[in-house]
C-alpha cells in the first residue's frame, strides 16, 4: 500500500495559522451554512443520511451512530436529550481537546444538526473537569452562537428551539461510560447503570430517551449533513467509513494527531512513515492500538486467518506493521480500534513495569460498585506494583491471569473488560518477561525510566 496523505476533515483548521476559535472566523470559513441547510430538511432525512454514511462512534466502541439514533424512543412523549461526551479520558487519547480549544463551533454546529434531526430541545456538553479552559471556550462559543440565532430560542427563525449547556466533570474516568456520565449529570456518583433496562435511548437522563455521542462523531455528522451519507461512505473502507484521528504517543519520533481515511493506512505506515519511527538507537517492542484498555500488539508476532473482502473470504498473514488501522481489522486480530489512542513502547520498556502503570490507572478509576472490578483491578495493581517494588515471583504471571480472567462479563459496565484486557494480553504476549522478571529486575540499569 502506498503511504496515503492525511485527509483532514475534522482537523481541517487545527493548527492553521490565523484560524481563531471565535464565531467570526468560523463563519468566514463557511461555518453554520450546514446548519442553515439542515433546518430546511426533514429531520428523518438527516437521520437517514447518517445511517447511509455508516458512521461509527468515535468514543471507543465503534457503534453505528445511525443505529444509535434509530433506537431512540420517540413515542414516549418525554423530552429527548442529547449529551456530547467530551469526557476524553482514555489514556492515549487527545483529539477532542484540540477540537474544543481550536474549533469549538464545529462541535456546536454538529451538535445542533444532530439535535434538530432528533427533535432534541436540550443538549449538554459533558466536558472533563481537567479542561477548565475548554469549558470556558465552549461557553463563550455557545453564547456567540446564541447571539447569532444558531442556538437557543427559535433557531434561524424556524420555530425550532434548542439550547446547549456545558457541564464539567470532576476527574473521574468512569464518566466517559455513557450511563455513568448520565448519573454524573444527574448530580450523583458516576456509577454506571445496568442494561437492560437502562439503555440511554429509552431510559437515559432523568429517565428520558437520551443520545450520547462523542465529540468527533458529532463533527462527522456535520460533514454528512453537508455532503450526504453516500459521499461519507466513499471515504475510508467498507464498514469503516470516514476519517479517523489517530493520537500517537509514547516512543516515536513525532508523536501527535493525524487524520486519515479509516483503514487506508497501516500501523507500520503510521508509526514509521508518519511518526518518524522509533527514537534513535531503539526498536519498537509493542503498541497499544486504541487507548490503554485495548489489547497490546507485540512487534514480531503474526496474525493469520481468513477475512471477508467484499463477498469473498481471503487469507491474510499480517505482521503488526501490516494491520490496516480500522475497527474491523483490529478486532479481527483480537484487539480494537477503540478511541484511536496509539501508545508505542520501544525496547527500553519492561512490560511488567508498563502493565503496573496501566493497572494503577484502572484501580484508581474503578467506580467500585461491582466486586470483581473493584477488587480485581486493585489486586492486579497490588501484584504488579509488588513485582516492581518488592518481591517478584515466577508464579505471579499465573496469579495475575487468574485474577484478570475472573472480571470480564461479570460487571455492570465495560470497565470490567477494560481493566482486565491489558493484564490478559500482556501475559499472553509477554508471559516470559513476567515469569523471569524476578531475575531480570536484578540487572535493571540504574537510571532506567520509572513507570510506576
Amino acid at each position: 500500500m502506498p503511504i496515503p496523505e492525511q485527509r483532514r476533515i475534522i482537523f481541517r483548521h487545527i493548527d492553521e495559522p490565523g484560524y481563531t476559535n471565535d464565531i467570526e472566523c468560523y463563519v468566514r470559513n463557511g461555518g453554520y451554512e450546514v446548519l442553515k441547510k439542515a433546518v430546511t430538511m426533514q429531520p428523518q432525512a438527516i437521520i437517514d443520511e447518517v445511517k447511509k454514511s455508516g458512521l461509527r462512534g468515535r468514543g471507543g466502541a465503534g457503534f453505528p451512530c445511525g443505529v444509535k439514533w434509530g433506537l431512540v424512543d420517540r413515542k414516549s412523549g418525554k423530552p429527548i436529550y442529547l449529551i456530547v461526551n467530551a469526557d476524553e479520558s482514555e489514556p492515549g487519547t487527545f483529539k477532542d481537546r484540540y477540537i474544543i480549544h481550536q474549533d469549538p463551533h464545529q462541535l456546536i454546529e454538529g451538535t445542533m444538526i444532530s439535535c434538530f434531526a432528533n427533535n432534541v430541545q436540550q443538549a449538554y456538553i459533558y466536558i472533563r473537569g481537567e479542561m477548565p479552559h475548554g469549558a470556558r471556550i465552549l461557553e463563550r462559543a455557545i453564547q456567540e452562537a446564541r447571539d447569532k440565532g444558531f442556538v437557543g430560542q427559535n433557531i434561524l427563525g424556524t420555530g425550532y428551539s434548542c439550547d446547549i449547556f456545558v457541564h464539567r466533570g470532576a476527574g473521574a474516568y468512569i464518566c466517559g461510560e455513557e450511563t455513568g456520565l448520565i448519573e454524573s449529570l444527574e448530580g450523583k456518583r458516576a456509577n454506571p447503570r445496568i442494561k437492560p433496562p437502562f439503555f440511554p435511548a429509552v431510559l437515559g437522563l432523568y429517565q428520558c430517551p437520551t443520545i450520547v455521542n462523542n465529540v468527533e462523531t458529532l463533527c462527522h455528522v456535520k460533514y454528512i449533513a453537508e455532503h450526504g451519507g453516500d459521499a461519507f461512505a466513499k471515504i475510508g473502507t467498507p464498514n469503516n467509513t470516514g476519517t479517523r484521528i489517530f493520537c500517537v504517543s509514547g516512543h516515536v519520533q513525532r508523536p501527535g494527531y493525524y487524520e486519515f481515511e479509516t483503514g487506508k493506512i497501516t500501523m507500520g505506515q503510521l508509526l514509521y512513515d508518519v511518526c518518524g519511527g522509533p527514537l534513535p538507537g531503539r526498536t519498537f517492542k509493542a503498541v497499544i492500538p486504541g487507548g490503554s484498555s485495548a489489547k497490546i500488539m507485540r512487534f514480531g508476532e503474526r496474525y493469520k486467518g481468513k477475512r471477508k473482502v467484499g463477498a469473498d473470504l481471503v487469507d491474510y498473514d499480517w505482521g503488526v506493521e501490516d494491520v490496516p488501522m480500522d475497527f474491523d481489522s483490529l478486532a479481527l486480530i483480537g484487539t480494537m480500534g477503540g478511541s484511536g489512542g496509539v501508545i508505542v513502547m520501544d525496547d527500553s520498556v519492561n512490560m511488567v513495569e508498563a502493565l503496573a502503570n496501566i493497572n494503577a490507572f484502572y484501580s484508581h478509576e474503578s467506580c467500585g460498585q461491582c466486586t470483581p472490578c473493584r477488587e480485581g483491578s486493585l489486586w492486579m495493581k497490588r501484584i504488579t506494583t509488588r513485582m516492581v517494588h518488592g518481591n517478584a515471583r515466577e508464579e505471579d504471571a499465573t496469579l495475575l491471569k487468574s485474577v484478570a480472567d475472573q472480571i470480564p462479563g461479570r460487571t455492570i459496565c465495560a470497565f470490567g473488560e477494560a481493566c482486565s484486557w491489558p493484564t490478559q494480553s500482556f501475559i499472553a504476549k509477554f508471559g516470559d518477561e513476567f515469569k523471569t522478571y524476578h531475575e531480570t529486575k536484578k540487572a535493571r540499569p540504574t537510571g532506567a525510566l520509572d513507570l510506576v
Binding site: E186, G187, Y206, S292, A360, L449, D450
Partner: protein
Amino acid sequence: MNLKPETLQRIDEVITHYPSKRSATLPLLHLIQEDLGYLPPETFEWVAAKLEIQPINVYDVVTFYPMFRQKPIGRRHIKVCRTLSCALRGGYKTCAEFEKQFDTKVGEISPDGEVTVEFVECLASCGTAPVVLIDDDLHENVDCAKAKQLSDQIKKEAAQRR
C-alpha cells in the same frame, strides 16, 4: 458559607440549566471550590439546602470525584500526569523534580505554603508528554529542565508578592 457575591450569582444561574436541581451538584461544588480553594465541612448542608437534597447526597459526590478536596492546598496546584504515555516520556522524573524544587511530597502542601504537587491520572494530552496542569494551565513537554523553569517562575512570583 462566606461566598463572594459573584459566586452566589453564578450558583443561582447555573441551577436554571437543569430541569432537576440535583444536577447542579457538581457545578455548585466547582464554584464553591474555586471561590474558597476547598470544600469546608459546611458545604454539605449548604449545597443540600440550596438544591433541596440531603447532605449525604452531596457528601457522596464530594468523596467520589478526585477533583473535589476537603482540605486547603498550597497557593498553586501542580498536577503532574502519571499515566502511561507521560511515564514513557519521563513523567515520574518530572514529578520528582517538582517535589525537589519545593521540598515537598506528593499530596502535601509545600513548607512555604506555595504549592501542592499531585500525581494525577491521564490529562488527555499524551502527544506532548509529559504534561503538567498548573492551576488551570496545561504545560506540555515538561522534562526536568522545564519543570525547574516553571518552579523558578512560581518562586519568583511568590517573592514579588512578599
